[in-house]
């Protein structure tokens, strides 16, 4: 019975590895942020390897790799962002926000920064002591 479970885990991991291999090669030329997408696909490969390690009975190795794999992915993405993506694509720094003024939950960044600054009228108003009285109309 255990052999069947091990075989199932190994076959699942083999299928996932082949899917990730196809995914790495099949991203088109016009795809934006290809490097991040490939790092994402390698995450699938990492999980497939962990499943295969569990299938082979190497639980300690699987646990170690489960902890180490996200650090690798983050380190590569961070290095790419700091040295290549930010340097070559300067328009990434200028994010244009298109937020509706009347949206109930989303507010423009400038408006929030003005509210949070030290000279904000809202903060000055909050410093005063104020008592609010509620009028309860029992007729309703």
């Amino acid at each position: 019975m255990i052999e069947y479970i091990q075989s199932a885990l190994l076959i699942i991991s083999a299928i996932l590895i082949i899917i990730s291999a196809i995914g790495i090669l099949s991203l088109g030329k016009d795809t934006k942020n290809k490097v991040y997408a490939r790092i994402h696909i390698v995450g699938l490969f990492d999980i497939a390897c962990i499943i295969a390690m569990i299938g082979l009975g190497q639980f300690l190795l699987a646990g170690i790799y489960f902890i180490l794999a996200p650090f690798t992915a983050h380190a590569i993405a961070n290095a790419y962002w700091k040295r290549e993506d930010r340097e070559n694509n300067s328009e990434l720094q200028n994010i244009v926000e298109d937020v509706d003024e009347n949206h109930p939950f989303l507010h423009p960044k400038e408006k929030m920064q003005a509210l949070e600054s030290e000279n904000s009228e809202k903060l000055k108003a909050d410093e005063r002591f104020s008592v609010t009285t509620l009028e309860i109309d029992e007729g309703e």
Binding site: C49, I64, K82
Partner: protein
């Protein structure tokens, strides 16, 4: 069991396909892609060693694969830190 052996060979074949895909990916022009591809090749080779060790019942393959995974991680992170440089 025979099905276990077939599954192990399937994993090895998938890992070889993944190694070729990672080699192709590391040939793209970005330096980070080279780093990513080499990292994938190292992990795939470690996994192939692990499977081969279980097929032929060789226990020291597991130790080699542990060393490859651990030092591959260290090398990748170290190179990524050097590549990233100081934050402005």
């Amino acid at each position: 069991m025979e099905i276990l052996l077939i599954a192990k060979y399937l994993v090895v074949i998938a890992l070889i396909i993944m190694m070729f895909a990672a080699l192709r990916a590391s040939a793209y022009k970005s330096t980070s892609m080279g780093l990513l591809g080499s990292s994938v090749v190292v992990v795939a080779f470690a996994m192939a060693l692990l499977v081969g060790g279980s097929i032929y019942d060789l226990n020291f393959f597991r130790d080699i694969s542990l060393a490859l995974i651990f030092f591959g991680f260290v090398g990748t992170v170290a190179f990524a830190v050097v590549l990233g440089g100081d934050d402005k």
